[in-house]
Each structure stands twice: as C-alpha cells, then as structure tokens.
C-alpha cells in the first residue's frame, strides 16, 4: 500500500452504497440532451484529443504497427494547426520498448496493459512479473485487470490484495485498474469494484478491456465518477477515470466530458485525471474539428488510419 493511503480506514466492501439503475439511466439521459455548440464544442473536442490513450491491443500487433501509431500520437492531423497530441499510447508489454523509443522526448506517455490482460486468469506471481517487465521496459502507466471471477464469488479481499501487490510492483508508474464492467453486470458491482480498486491503491479506475461488450457505457462511467467523488470527499485524494471501449464518436466523448464536469468538476478536466481508451475516436473528432473550420465534412480518406 502506498504511503498516501496509510491513514485511510478501509471500509467493509460488503456494504458499499447501493445504486438504482433506473435513476442512473435518467441522470445520464439528461446529460445526453445537453447541447454543446460553438466555441465550447471546439474547446471540448481539443480536450478530448488530448485525453485519448491511443490503443492497439491485438495478437497481431507488430513493431511496425506500433511505431506508426506512435507517430500519429504526436501528429494527429497536420492539416489542423495547433492540434494537441494524445495523452498516451496503450500497448502490450512486449511493445512498450518500441513505443517508448518511437515517442522519444515527447510528452506522450506509454501505457502498458498487464496482469495477463484481458482475462487476468494467471497466478499472482505471473501478474507481478508481467507488470515488472512492462515497467522495466519503460512503461509510464500500467493498465491492470481485476480478477472478476474472484470478485463475483465474493472474495473481495483477494481482489484488494492483488491490486495492492500490483501497485507495489508498479513503482513510479501510475496504475489504472480495469474493472471489466461488462462482466460485473450490475451497477452495484461496478460501485463495489470501484471502491475496492481505489482503496487498494489505484491511481485511475478504468471501465473495460475493450474485449467485452458492453464496455464504457455512460451509465457505468457515471457510477464510477460518483464513486471517485465520494472517495475524494472522504480522503481528499483525487483518482483518475478512464472509460475505454465503445466511445467512438465525438458527440459521445463530449457528453462524457460534460458528465465529468457535472459530477467531479473542472479539476478533473485534464489528461492527468481523465482519459479515453479508444482507437477510432481520434479520427471522428478530427473530422468534426475540420468541419468546424471548413464548414464541410471530409471523407474518411482525408484522415490517417493508424
């Protein structure tokens, strides 16, 4: 456990606050009726770009593929002046070194999934080794998965201890804890898993691996944001949030940002505290940005596929 959390009393995770699904759906629907226009839309879209973890997590990933993505991470769209970079690239541990080299001195971070991503079905020693390897290769951030099977069978202490062990293995790297909400099914479980992760030392909580549907629905993200808010009110510690998987349009991303603003407030509107895990979102946002500049939509062929 990290020093900052020494004095915090760990709650009994059997009794986390309950969530009413219908109420959450209504709240999210209200946010989705908000109209984001004009300058606020452009400002919002630039923020979105700057919060993206550009991701490739495939068995067929190669150094060439990763290098190209890293270039794109720093040069999203040369035709748009003052285009921000993304926040990070997200790759498997075996690609961390290549990504790190490709990104050089840029501010773009390298995040690595670990702990036998995406299923997490491996012994703890393997998960720790996996994590340590990624950190040694130069990863700035580690995206771990929780043991959903253990969680669903009520072994909250196991899940807690595992997160704490990985946090230790991370050293200086920031730890994102993936709950894989699509496998947790209920919002009550999402809330519970969020609390376990935060109290165990997560720097970020993250919805999904991107391999399971449904992934980052706004309902799930809302519940996690409210958990972060409650944790902050109790401990004074800010935790980051990363919805990942399924956010592929600029509109949905903007509504997510607005949701952050209306729940956690403006302090979280920064890529140190909020990220989008996405592969195709960037191009949709770029298309919208170009549209706001030129007044017309360009074809997909004008935006690089990396």
């Amino acid at each position: 456990m990290s020093t900052k959390q020494k004095d915090i009393q760990i709650p009994d995770f059997r009794f986390t606050p309950t969530i009413d699904k219908v109420g959450v759906e209504e709240r999210v629907a209200r946010i989705q009726t908000r109209s984001i226009k004009g300058e606020s839309k452009i400002q919002g879209m630039k923020m979105v770009l700057n919060m993206i973890d550009l991701t490739t997590l495939e068995g067929k990933d190669t150094p060439g593929k990763v290098k190209q993505m890293c270039y794109k991470a720093q040069h999203l769209h040369e035709a748009y002046p003052d285009c921000p970079t993304v926040a990070a690239v997200c790759v498997y541990p075996s690609m961390v070194k290549i990504a790190k080299e490709a990104l050089g001195n840029s501010n773009v971070k390298v995040a690595s999934v670990s702990t036998a991503f995406p299923s997490g079905q491996a012994p703890r020693e393997v998960k720790i080794m996996d994590t340590k390897f990624a950190v040694e290769q130069g990863a700035d951030e580690i995206d771990m998965v929780i043991s959903r099977g253990k969680f669903l069978s009520g072994e909250y202490n196991f899940v807690f201890d595992e997160i704490a062990a990985i946090k230790e293995a991370c050293g200086k790297a920031r730890l994102k804890v993936i709950l894989e909400t699509g496998e947790l099914v209920t919002l009550d479980n999402v809330r519970k898993a969020s609390e376990i992760a935060m109290y165990a030392g997560a720097d970020f909580i993250k919805t999904s691996t991107g391999k399971i549907q449904p992934a980052a629905t706004m309902q799930v993200t809302y519940v996690m944001l409210m958990a972060i808010k409650d944790y902050f009110n109790k401990t004074g510690i800010m935790i980051g949030m990363k919805p990942a998987g399924g956010i592929s349009t600029s509109k949905l991303a903007l509504h997510n940002l607005l949701m952050v603003k209306e729940t956690l407030g403006e302090n979280w509107l920064d890529n140190h505290w909020f990220r989008f895990g996405a592969s195709s979102l960037a191009n949709d946002v770029l298309m919208q940005l170009m549209k706001s500049k030129t007044g017309v939509y360009q074809s997909g062929d004008y935006f690089s596929l990396d």
Binding site: P17, T18, G23, P84, L258
Partner: protein, 482 residues
Amino acid sequence: MNKNQSTKWNLDPAPESAGHVQLKTQYELFINGKWEKPNSGKYFDSINPANEEKLASVAHADETDVDKAVKAARHAYENVWSKLSGKERGKYLFRIARLIQEKAREFAVIETLDGGKSIRESRDIDVPLAANHFFYYAGWADKLEYAFPNRPVKSLGVAGQIIPWNFPLLMAAWKIAPALAAGNTVVLKPSETTSLTALKLAELIEESGLPAGVVNIVTGYGDTGSAIVNHPDINKIAFTGSTNVGKMIQKAIAGTDKKLTLELGGKSANIIFEDAPIDQAVEGIVNGIFFNQGHVCCAGSRLFVQEGVAETVIQKLKDRMDTLYVGDPMDKNTDIGAINSKKQLETISKYIQIGIQDGNEIYQSNCALPDKGYFCKPTLFIDVAQSSQLVQEEIFGPVLTIQTFRTVDEVIQKANNTPFGLAAGVWTDKGSKIFNLTSKLRAGVVWANTYNKFDPTSPFGGYKESGFGREGGLHGLEAYLG
C-alpha cells in the same frame, strides 16, 4: 505539445429558435368554432416572464361572453356531440392528438415563451404528455361500457374547466380529453398569465374539424372563472389551482346540481431512508422540487432525511444544485427557467424572507441570474421545524425545506401532519419498507425511488385540502360520466 487543458470549460448558449412560431398580436375568444371579440372590448397582455416583453394581447371574457360560450357548448352537446357514436368521438380525439404531435415544436416554444419553463421540459415533458392524454382517452371513447361494466354510462353535459398556469397545455389536455371522450362539451378557461398554448390548441381544434361549440375557450381573470362556476347551465366544474380558490368554488356551487372535481395545492413529503441509493435520491430531490421551477402542485417540497445520512445527502444536494443551469428558458441546456409571473416571484421571495428571519440555515446555488425577467435561485432551508410557515404552507417555487427523522413511525407522522395530501416520495432499497409506507402515507400519489412521474393511464389527485376526484386513467374518465 501537451497543453495543460484544465481551464474553464463553459457551454456556449444553445437557444432554441422561435422563428417558426406563429403568434398573432391579438387573440379573441374561441366560441362556437369562431373567434369572437370580447363583449367588454377589453384585452390584457400576455408577458414573457424571462424578459418581461409582451407576447400578445388576449381577450378578457365577461359574463356575457361566458354565457355565449355555455350556450354554444349546450347547443353542440344536445344536437351534435351527444348524438355521435363513441367511435366517431374517438376519431376526433385521435386527430387532435396527432396534430399536437405534428406541431409539437411550435407548442413547446410558445409554452416556454409564455410560461417561463425551460424548453427542455416543454419539449420533453409537457407537449408529449399532452398528446398522450388525447391518445389515451381517444382509445376509451368507444369502450365506455367496458370501462364501467354493469352500469349505464351517460355523459354529463357541459363541463366548465378552469386550469392553472404551471402546465398550461398539459392541464388543458388533462381536462378536455376525458370530457370529450365521455361525450361532454367544454368551456375552458386558461390562466391569465398563460393563455397562449390554450389558444393555439383552439386553432388546432379548429383545424381538426371538431364540430363547432364542442370546445370553447374563454380567456380572462378570476372574474371570468367565477362566471363559469356560477353559470346555471353548467353540469360539471373541474378546477386545478390553489386551495383558496378551490374552497371558493366549492362554496359557490353548494346547493346546485353541479358535479365537482378539485385538484388543489400540496406540500408533499419526499422521504430518504438510510438504505436509499443516495446519489439517485439526490437526483430525485432535485427533480422533486426544482422541476418546473417548483411550480408543481405535487412538488416534493418537504424533504425528510434519516439522520444517519442527512449530512451526506445535504452536501451532495448542494453540490448538485451548483451544477444546475439557471437562466434563459429558451436555452436547450437550461434546467431551471423563469418564475411564471412577477406576482409569484414576490410570493416566493416573501417566503424566503420569512425563512431567513426565522433564523433557518439557508443555501442557494451559486449561479448568476439574468438581469431582466423573473428568476429565483434554487433554495434550501436546512433543519426547519415542523411548525414553521415554510413547512406548513405551499410556496410553489424552487424552495425546499429539510427536516431529519429517526424512525419510520416518526416520519409517517410528520409526513401526514399537513392539511395537504397530494403526493409523496419514498427512497429505500428495501421493498417491504416501500409497501409499508405507501399504505400509511395519506397522499394521492406515492412514488417509490423516483419522483414527478406522470402517465395518462395513472390516476392523479389528492387527499384533504389537496382536493378530491382523480384525473388520468379510468378514474379520470369516470369523473365525466353520470
């Protein structure tokens, strides 16, 4: 080039356009299918409460005009409407419902301009619900004997209907749709501050080809309403509005054959238990009291929070209030629009002053209000006593009183300890607690883990000084049958 983006991110204005709306500069009375000038020649102004600008002149009907309208309604009842089959009546109602849907955008914009409610609510709640009421009762028109089996079903005759300013079009739909489905004809008076959507509805009814005289709309003040109430040839009065006026109406028709339903004020309890889903309950509190600027007869204006979670709930409520957008009702992002009239703003301000003078802890959202127009900040009074005027009287604005409680019995007692009994809300994760409370709370509607939900199929009405009779559902239909 990683910029630090944690700067302010505020939404740009997103105003709904009013360019497509057709408003006349002057509106006459809709009597016997024609637009008639008022006998007195007098008109009054309808004001946009968000900028205090005049929208249109509206005719002020007197006794002579009301008499003309009642005669037209009687004539239409005797000669046309009561002779039509239920199926034919239903067709007209379906047509009106569809026309409301077609013109939904125009109705929503006018409702917002005239009444001050946010365009989001007019667009997503008032207008669709109004259309749904017509659809729902259209379906019953030819099935009355199935709705009320083993008894003769007979229409009453001419119904005089007086509606308030908080949901102008929706209340018109609540009143007109069941009356017509049951075979009655109607003389309806909208509130003097919000006549325009009722008059647009009259235009729509004209377009629908409904036989002349079946629906008559007379605009005016309290004297116009009084002329309707006291007219000898009216068979039924349906009133929605303040408890004081309701009492006056009941006195006025005592000793006559007129039937009466009253839907009056409220001071409804919203009860949060320790085991409630707290974040959703906070949303429910906000929706319960700040919906339509608190101009809701069933508003959850008395909040009861169990002591163990009181501090958390109040803190979360304050945080949430600060994220509400208060301002231009025509902006699509506005959550809380303008107070309906100067008079109502004065009433609300008076109560806020009383609350402050009594030494209650007050909290108001930290939002800026527009310079022009009638606006009020969402307001909380914390730890208010049951005996306080703020708890006892209906404020009809965005003002919430908060009381804490310890046990179930205590909260039931306090919730029922009011002259009103319109609605209540119960928030808990435990089903058995909900059923225990729904049977003990003396309120016409009890919502569980939600608040301010309306549906045409569900009856709505009060206990005690909140009135009698039900609107909506089969109960609402029965009120128009002999």
